[in-house]
Symmetry: C2
Subunit: 200 residues, 2 copies
DNA sequence: ATTAAAACATACAGTCTGCATGTTTCTGTG
DNA sequence: CACAGAAACATGCAGACTGTATGTTTTAAT
């Protein structure tokens, strides 16, 4: 029955199966959300069986975590690509934020990363993922600005990073549901410039 | 069989049943979260049957929405209670925020209102609830400060309200998971004072 | 009193998740 | 290259849950 089936190493089999599962799951999670996506649909789209899914992932949540990780990495990559070497610190922050909003404008990403993610994995679980990807560059940007003397030196870096990240996330959500994108961009810029103004 | 059953009006029957359902659901949603709470458990705790539940609520989501509404109202009440009449605008904002964080420190409230809420009802659905309660006073506070000349006049009120609310929410979540509360309070104050500094 | 309607209870159908148990494909060793 | 043994995958099953359809009781209205 396995006529032209070229022989594949176990590692190859696993990796492709995992990849095809994550891809199919990502598509459905983005289209319908976590709760409305059933594992039978995922495996059907992936062309495998539920046995394979539960062989590679502990449960549905673990598969979701893998998808969220991949998506967060993609968003981080798109974001960092927008920050060029020559930029001034403040400019880098603004441009990076801009790119972050653009990356999250991809349909379904806000639901996956900002709504389902925290609910399914918990805020702590989502923080772990974010800290491996997106938040890193934001925190880096803030540190950069502080060092350049553009932000107060007594600023609690970690906390402020979280708050600004959260503001950007909310802006992305609001924009997606029809909010005034320019108003949110302006408000974000004012938050950053306001911090800078504290240096006076 | 209904020996000493005093006769109750239909309205009374409905209202008490709805109330007892919402109370039981709130307790369980707060303890275990939305997804891990089954309707059989809710009705058992409430002392009714699933028939009653589905008579009064369209589905589990609708019951959750009612719970979230009640909880948001409670948080708003606690928050507004902390803002006294004589306060200066900035002080009112800070104190109100403080009270908001304290209200959200009640166990399970962050999960209910900040994690499950947006995931189950969507950000838009949660906004509707928030706009009926908590966000109103925050927006009012911001308008207040702007009018007092303490914030830039070209500030996009609606967007900034959302961003600051989001920052407070994230602070509440971070504090609950062991974050440095003082750092977050300081960071929030810096965001507000930074905006004020833009008036220079 | 009697009939309608609202409130509530019971029963059922369909679906989903996670696991236990097969079967196939690869890996390592003599 | 034969042949265990393990890894990868498939199939089948048990328990649980949601939403609805249908029954029963309590209130309302004439």
């Amino acid at each position: 029955m396995q006529d032209k089936n070229e022989r594949r190493t176990n590692r190859e089999r696993s990796e492709t199966t995992r990849a095809v599962l994550i891809d199919a799951a990502r598509k459905l999670f983005i289209e319908r959300g976590y709760a409305e996506t059933a594992t039978p649909d995922i495996v059907a789209a992936a062309g495998v069986t539920r046995g394979a899914l539960y062989h590679h992932f502990e449960d549905k949540k673990a598969l979701f975590a893998a998808v969220a990780e991949a998506e967060a990495e993609a968003v981080a990559a798109e974001t960092e690509g927008a920050v060029l070497d020559g930029m001034r610190p403040r400019e880098a922050l603004i441009k990076g934020g801009e790119a972050y909003l653009a990356a999250l404008a991809q349909p379904g990403r806000t639901r996956l990363l900002l709504l389902d993610g925290p609910a399914v994995l918990g805020r702590a679980g989502m923080d772990e993922i974010d800290n491996r990807h997106g938040t890193r560059s934001l925190r880096g940007g803030i540190v950069f600005v502080v060092q350049a003397g553009g932000l107060p030196r007594d600023l609690p870096i970690e906390a402020m990073t979280q708050l600004l990240a959260s503001a950007y996330d909310r802006a992305a959500l609001a924009i997606e549901t029809g909010g005034d994108a320019d108003a949110y961009r302006a408000a974000l810029a004012m938050l950053i410039d306001g911090l800078a103004a504290l240096c006076g």
